[in-house]
């Protein structure tokens, strides 16, 4: 089972290593991870997507709390989840379909964000499962694309 947790940590030396090491040492998976400071505070927010059964998640949360710089672990079934993805196509593959690509991207809160003489770059922002769909659609239609995903960020509703 996939789940996302949000971890509020003190913004200090080595805190990312502590969190990541704990996952590695105890054999828990990290599917994606994003970190950024929370403005006007001494904290950072880490958003971790992981896989495991509920018992594993219970342990993950407890082990996170055991780390001294961890302030709060937020588990919620009611997160707004967003992820960003960028896809780069060789221009020659897609030059006849730019309108189509732009239309699809718009369905996923995105658009073509850059075109030059070699490449077209599309970016979208949406729920991770919808990003999956978007990428599947793109890959089945066009070849030789390059994909970057940001990892998920969440906020409680």
């Amino acid at each position: 089972m996939k789940r996302v947790i949000s971890v509020i940590v003190e913004n200090e030396h080595g805190v990312l290593a502590r969190v990541v090491n704990m996952f590695a040492a105890r054999g828990y998976n990290i599917t994606s991870l994003t970190v950024a400071p929370i403005p006007n505070s001494e904290f950072s927010r880490m958003t971790i997507m992981s896989e495991g059964d509920p018992k594993v998640f219970e342990q993950i949360v407890k082990q996170l709390y055991k780390l001294i710089p961890v302030y709060k672990v937020i588990e919620s079934d009611d997160f707004i989840e967003k992820e960003m993805a960028m896809v780069k196509f060789p221009l020659k593959e897609v030059k006849d379909n730019l309108a189509d690509i732009d239309a699809i991207a718009r369905c996923y809160n995105g658009k073509i964000s850059n075109v030059n003489d070699k490449h077209v770059v599309v970016s979208v922002v949406d729920r991770p499962d919808r990003i999956d769909n978007f990428l599947k659609a793109m890959m089945s239609k066009y070849k030789n694309s390059e994909i970057v995903r940001s990892g998920v960020s969440v906020i409680e509703r």
Partner: protein, 565 residues
């Protein structure tokens, strides 16, 4: 007034009322040692190896309940300390380990004696710090001591770059510390406590499962009172030996792989297990799927991550064992009927009679268990017992008549050979008036025997009783039982030191005992000699530790004594 980082270290330790530091100097920590030299508020014990220094600090902490402190240098200094830190971590022992580091400007350049010290100790400490600014130093030391001793205790490591030890700052030692992100829960939830009490009153076959957390929280007195009043059968883990007196009529003995049959059957057949600061370690539960199938669990622990980690827990109580029991006691005593458990006690007592802890004594050879029992008769009741790791450790845990908590000092979680002797020296430093015995093996004692010189120099006369079977006995036992007796690299009979000469060469005294009659004399002599002693007792080589739950078997499938099969 401003002072150097090195001086701040020393002044902070004085503020913490530290009485002794165990350590070993080197380049990166020289400034701290220079300030140490200039003060006389606390003592420094120069170990012969950093592992020894940390085990000494650990033994000191276990014996006294205070925080143990160690100094080491950068690079090999801190890597040598790693086993000591990990040993303390797995047994939740409060330490503050301070290491030197290359200057901040050199960090990351692969400088001489640079290792990523905080990277190495991160998974084996409760917390660690790399001090980058001298202005933070005093606060960090305060925080380190606070973290080490509060909540679930553990070792804390502070890595101090050399330039920080010469930099200047105002010394202000915080009076109190308040951490936003760390607030251990000491008092148990009242409703959870009430529910647990009801469950105990309703149970037919309850058992107190007493673990090391009971020792750390100082809960022995109240546990004794509760057990006496409720007459609930009780078992102890290795880390909890001595919480109940050995002759307590409700103590079934040690639980787990080498526990008593009755203790393990109590866990197996219980309908309610009340865990007091224990953690359902695999050496206790045996095969997990078959562990305590009919039992509900009350789990009292200060560390929430222990609860529900291994077994499903119906009655979780996060809190300090002693404080929780103080809340529980009046509720429990109100209306509990100890007769309710009489049938259960009778069943367990029958198990105890059927398969008591025993050994086949002999007049020809010395049985290791006999040595332990005999020692129990000869030394004062308040003696401190340390052990190394192996068969001798299990025999000590099984056969020594423990009478008080903190009496047994042993590496339970990590199982570190080489722990016993330096830990004994540290314990002796913390309890000068007591006899300190280290039960050790011919394998283990060689891992830190260099510390004999420490015993000599600082007048810490501990007595090592080597149960010498000329084997890495515990491994040999497994090879005999599970590897068709293929004794791969466990026979030590080809080369053995002359322990008498070895002791004498480092200011100690040695005895070689190969007959029973010689033992009593040697031990009495050693107690009077006031020197580090080695009593090399030649014991029956092929003795096995029994009973035994074979690895990954259910608790009830114990291998018992040959004639009992």
């Amino acid at each position: 007034m401003k002072m150097t980082g090195a001086r701040i270290v020393i002044e902070s330790l004085i503020k913490e009322n530290v009485k002794v530091v165990f350590g070993y100097p080197g380049g990166a920590i020289m400034n701290v040692y220079d300030e140490l030299y200039k003060q006389n508020k606390f003592k420094h014990i120069l170990a012969k190896h950093e592992q020894g220094a940390v085990h000494m600090a650990d033994g000191y902490a276990r014996a006294t309940g205070d925080v143990g402190v160690a100094f080491v240098t950068s690079g090999p200094g801190i890597t040598n300390a790693v086993t000591g830190i990990a040993t303390a971590y797995t047994d939740s022992i409060p330490l503050v380990v301070i290491s030197g580091q290359v200057p901040t400007t050199a960090i990351g350049t692969d400088a001489f004696q640079e290792v990523d010290a905080v990277g190495i100790t991160r998974p084996i400490t409760k917390h660690n710090f790399l001090v980058k600014d001298v202005k933070d130093l005093a606060y960090i030391i305060k925080e380190a001591f606070y973290l080490a001793r509060s909540g679930r205790p553990g070792p804390v490591h502070i890595d101090i770059p050399k330039d920080v030890t010469v930099a200047l700052a105002k010394f202000e030692y915080p009076e109190k510390i308040e951490l936003k992100t760390y607030k251990p829960t000491y008092k148990g939830n009242k409703r959870a406590i009430k529910r647990a009490v009801e469950a105990i009153k309703k149970a037919k076959r309850p058992v107190f499962y007493i673990g090391g957390g009971s020792v750390l929280s100082g809960a022995s007195d109240i546990i004794r009172e509760i057990v006496k009043f409720t007459k609930i059968p009780s078992v102890e883990t290795l880390m909890a030996r001595g919480v109940l007196r050995h002759d307590c009529p409700y103590l079934l003995g040690m639980v787990g792989m080498h526990g008593t049959f009755a203790a393990n059957m109590a866990m197996n057949d219980a309908d309610l297990i009340i865990s007091l600061g224990a953690r359902f370690d695999d050496r206790v539960t045996g095969k997990l799927d078959e562990f305590a199938k009919n039992a509900e669990i009350v789990h009292i622990d200060i560390d929430p991550s222990q609860i529900g980690k291994v077994v499903e827990t119906k009655y979780p109580i996060v809190g300090d064992v002693k404080l929780v029991l103080e809340e529980m006691m009046p509720l429990l005593f109100d209306g509990i009927n100890p007769d309710r458990y009489k049938e259960w006690r009778d069943v367990l007592n029958r198990y105890q009679e059927l398969y008591p802890l025993k050994y086949a004594d002999s007049d020809e050879v010395i049985k290791p268990q006999w040595v332990i029992e005999k020692t129990g008769q000869l030394v004062p009741e308040n003696a401190i017992i340390t052990t190394d790791v192996g068969q001798h450790q299990m025999w000590a845990a099984q056969f020594y008549p423990f009478t008080y908590p903190r009496q047994l000092i042993t590496s339970g979680g990590l199982g570190t050979m080489g722990f016993g002797f330096p830990a004994a020296l540290g314990a002796k430093e913390g309890a000068k008036d007591r006899v300190v015995i280290n039960f050790t093996g011919d394998g283990s004692i060689m891992m830190n025997i260099q510390e004999t010189l420490v015993g000599y120099k600082y007048n810490l006369p501990v007595i090592n009783i080597i149960l010498n079977n000329n084997y890495l006995g515990m491994v040999r036992q497994w090879q005999s039982m599970f590897y068709e007796d293929r004794l791969s690299e466990t026979d030590l009979s080809d080369v053995q030191p002359d322990f008498v000469k070895l002791a004498e060469s480092m200011g100690g005294v040695g005895y070689r005992v190969s007959k029973k009659e010689e033992f009593e004399k040697a031990l009495k002599d050693a107690m009077e000699a006031k020197k580090v002693a080695f009593i090399d007792v030649q014991v029956d080589r092929r003795e096995d530790v029994l009973p035994m739950v074979p690895p990954n078997s259910p608790l009830k499938n114990m291998l018992v004594f040959k004639e009992d099969k």
